[in-house]
Subunit: 225 residues, 2 copies
């Protein structure tokens, strides 16, 4: 039997669509609860349950007396007005996870992973040639996601998930510096080589270098153990 979708579930999905289709960005406000409930044809109680789940997911932020707003992805983490510092935390985080994951991937990868990794590199190359930095950044992210999945341990992907958006944004930073634009491409190729050759320590070091280089390109410094 296909379990019936609950009213708050339906509402939560509707609100997410509303945010998307209306192109609402961080800080933009949602309709008032009484109005939104009426629009969706549900009670305010159900609406509030939907809002509670969306808030738990970090998509919105609700303030008493004021309203509900589309959340800034950075708001889920402790106050830190300093942009640079946030970026530093992201790179610090990546430096912990990604070299390790690359080492695992070098051992656990299948032929399909290699193909997918190569394609993401090709996509990135093509995007660069077309000056399409958005697509290039997407390809960049994709490369890392494939490695994540190639590691064979779903916990890493689960761990990255909450910070995925922050990480992606950060991955675009380096591209602001047009001069060093091809460097990440070569670094990806180097990583892929080690992963293909099943050389964990090589992959690990190459990824370590890649993350540190990306930080340097973005002019970010941070504490390392």
């Amino acid at each position: 039997m296909t379990r019936t979708e609950t009213a708050p579930e339906r509402a939560a999905r509707a609100i997410r669509n509303l945010i998307k289709s209306n192109g609402l960005g961080p800080g933009d406000s949602l309709p008032a609860q009484r109005e939104l409930a009426a629009t969706l044809g549900i009670s305010r109680a159900s609406l509030r349950e939907a809002l509670a789940t969306l808030e738990a997911m970090g998509l919105i932020r609700v303030q008493a007396g004021k309203g509900a707003y589309v959340a800034d992805p950075h708001d889920g983490m402790p106050r830190d007005d300093n942009q640079k510092r946030q970026a530093a935390q992201v790179y610090q985080f990546r430096l912990a996870i990604e070299p390790y994951v690359a080492g695992l991937a070098a051992q656990a990868r299948t032929r399909d992973h290699l193909i997918a990794l190569q394609r993401s590199i090709d996509d990135m190359q093509t995007a660069f040639e077309a000056d399409d930095l958005i697509t290039a950044a997407n390809a960049d992210t994709e490369f890392h996601e494939i490695l994540l999945s190639a590691s064979g341990n779903p916990l890493f992907a689960a761990a990255i998930f909450p910070t995925a958006q922050t990480i992606h944004e950060n991955q675009m930073l380096p591209f602001a510096n047009a001069a060093a634009i091809k460097a990440p491409l070569r670094e990806h190729e180097q990583i892929l080589r080690y992963v293909r050759d099943r050389n964990p320590s090589g992959a690990r070091d190459a990824m370590h270098f890649h993350v540190l280089s990306a930080a340097t390109r973005a002019n970010i410094a941070f504490l390392r153990p």
Copy 2:
């Protein structure tokens, strides 16, 4: 002004504590909503909002007509029936994160962190002497959580959160072997020593050893990069 905590927020935290302190595991059922609301001194509406956030966080699962249950953390991630394999993934994950975090903590810790770490060690000791393995396991988890916070990078805590329950479960496994019961205690003390002395590489190695030892005690083997 310190923004007042909302009733559902308070309730969510209370329920999480309830799960912890009662040692509820996956599949165990929570009290009925009417009863739980009365216990917490809030309305069912507020209680339901709390449950909605907990469900969004993947901590519980609510079924109409039946009840609310502590969720299996592995639901929502790729099927993997093999218990041993799940445990291996957890240790593999911890081995990536925790030594790195320990290294950071050794540099960023404050005096308060040291005090808290020492207390968690003392609690664990006391619990062992009282043969209270549940409390001991809680103290064990607490030690690691304090280090997480001492690292100064909230991303690590955020990353660990989704798998926190799995990790906690795993941390209890070693205690099944009564012989080696004091080992983790000594390992924690060793880590604390390095953290106190601001020795990152020492802390890192000690934590590496600690995680590997825990895995060995639990008779778990896994791939390392």
